[in-house]
Amino acid sequence: MVRQLTSLAIACLISGAAVAHDHAAHQAPKRDYAKVWLENQEKAPRLAVAASFDPAGRLWRVQTVGKHLKLSSSDDGGAHFSAPLTVNREPELISSDGEARPQIAIVGQRIYLSWTQALPQPFAGHIRFAVSQDGGHSFSDPITVNDDTRPITHRFNAMLADQQGVTLSWIDKRDGADRAEYRGAAIYTARSTDGGRSFEANRKLEDHSCECCRIGMASDRDGTPVILWRQIFGRNIRDFALARLGEPLRRVSEDDWKIDACPHHGGAIAIDVEGTRHIVWFTGAEKSPGPHYRRIDGQQMSSPMPFGNLDAQAGHPAVAVSGNEVTLVWREFDGSANRIMSMRSTNRGTDWSAPSILASTRGAADYPQLIRGQGGLWLIWNTAEDGFKAMRVGT
């Protein structure tokens, strides 16, 4: 018996570290959750990319390779990219899957990058930032922007930059770290007005955000960042809130989605020259599940317009506006292919075209993004089997 067990033990030794890891699991489930989380971060698919045009019309793309953020550029609208530059010299885990993705913003010669460093602790991260002052030739050493540096949630970084400065926002659990009764997380922001060399103190925008949905940001007419996120209203209604930086929130969806779950499904915002907000978001509320669009003119909010095929997992929408033209894109899966769908309005979101297919792939795929450059609107979409796509889709 002992001999048999010994040979079994040796067999287990061959399969190695797994056994040793498992031992920890027996004794400390919480630590095991942490280990799984960490390993997940190391292996997660890296389909989530970000891209931006510079003023000269060059397309810049940032993506995660291993434990490094890599930046490359394209002079032919995304058909070919330069050899990538490594942004962080010291390796670190970078969240880039699903709704967690690095961010890029370009203002003149400055290229701002932000990302979430995943920590070994479950759901924990740091908001990281680096800037190039010389058009992407070199980058500053990355800094951690969250000034609470405990290993807890500081995740889902969003970024907005213009001539006046750069603003980051993120989901932060510092206020609930020692309070079990605290609902959800909070939205924190930080702003730099010296070209990303330093950041002012972190500021809390609002308590009780949902924990794991991307944040939307857009510039108001006066340049003030406007932030859209999933908020917990009441005990557990997870609908959307919108706020200008430093101002109180306004509830902008009344879906009444009561749920103790991780939707992993946020919203997006675009603001037109008249200051009208165009928002898209997702809800699972039974009365009208799926993606929705709404226009907000001052105190007036249009009725939420559902869009997308509910039987094809329609979700993760993006929105863009130019003049009277509003463009929506989202992802659907029809059982065999992922496709990017689009609808367009030419009268500020009042009437809409029928949905059309912009692109499709049979393999795994990122969510769609809309960016501006070269005087037009572009769809950015990364796919596993058909590569990175940049498609001009409008004006």
Partner: protein, 154 residues
């Protein structure tokens, strides 16, 4: 010697189920294995902040109602199977049937399970004996699980 003791500890501990790979067609297998029997299908992930609470409730349900048939399906990846088993085991669900998503496109598997499930977790389906199902997103309170057990499991 350390590993020998470890092994003994493992062998003497609660036996845990071998995780099966959830691929297109797996839901039919799960249903066929339980023809005429009620069960709970629970979808979860190691990356879901609300899932530990769900596992805790399911573990408590399994302890109080050993006759309840629970099927755990993790929406993670096959290489995480062993860790997922350990997580489930740590919540008293070591003997529960376990599956893990095994397709590079999780949307494909979600599509097959329920076209109207958008990926939010935890996601639970209560199947009655006729396999009519009721889907819920979010942590299911223990009382709700227990009342279902009282109604459907003798």
């Amino acid at each position: 010697m350390k590993y020998f003791l470890l092994l003994l500890a493992m062998l003497s501990g609660a036996a845990h189920a071998e995780t099966r790979f959830f691929t297109p067609g797996s839901l039919q297998t799960i249903l066929a294995d339980r023809a005429g029997k009620p069960f709970i299908l629970s979808l979860w992930s190691n990356a879901c902040a609300h899932c530990p609470a769900e596992l805790k409730n399911l573990g408590e349900l399994a302890r109080k109602h050993p006759g309840v048939d629970i099927v755990l399906v993790a929406t993670d990846t096959p290489d995480e199977a062993q860790q997922l088993e350990k997580l489930a085991q740590s919540y008293g669900l070591g003997k529960t049937e376990q599956w893990v998503f095994a397709d590079p496109q999780p949307e494909k598997l979600r599509f097959e399970i329920d076209r109207r499930w958008y990926g939010e977790l935890p996601r639970t389906y209560f199947f009655n004996a006729k396999h009519r199902r009721e889907g819920h997103s979010g942590v299911i309170p223990l009382e709700r699980l227990e009342s279902w057990a009282g109604e459907h499991v003798k």
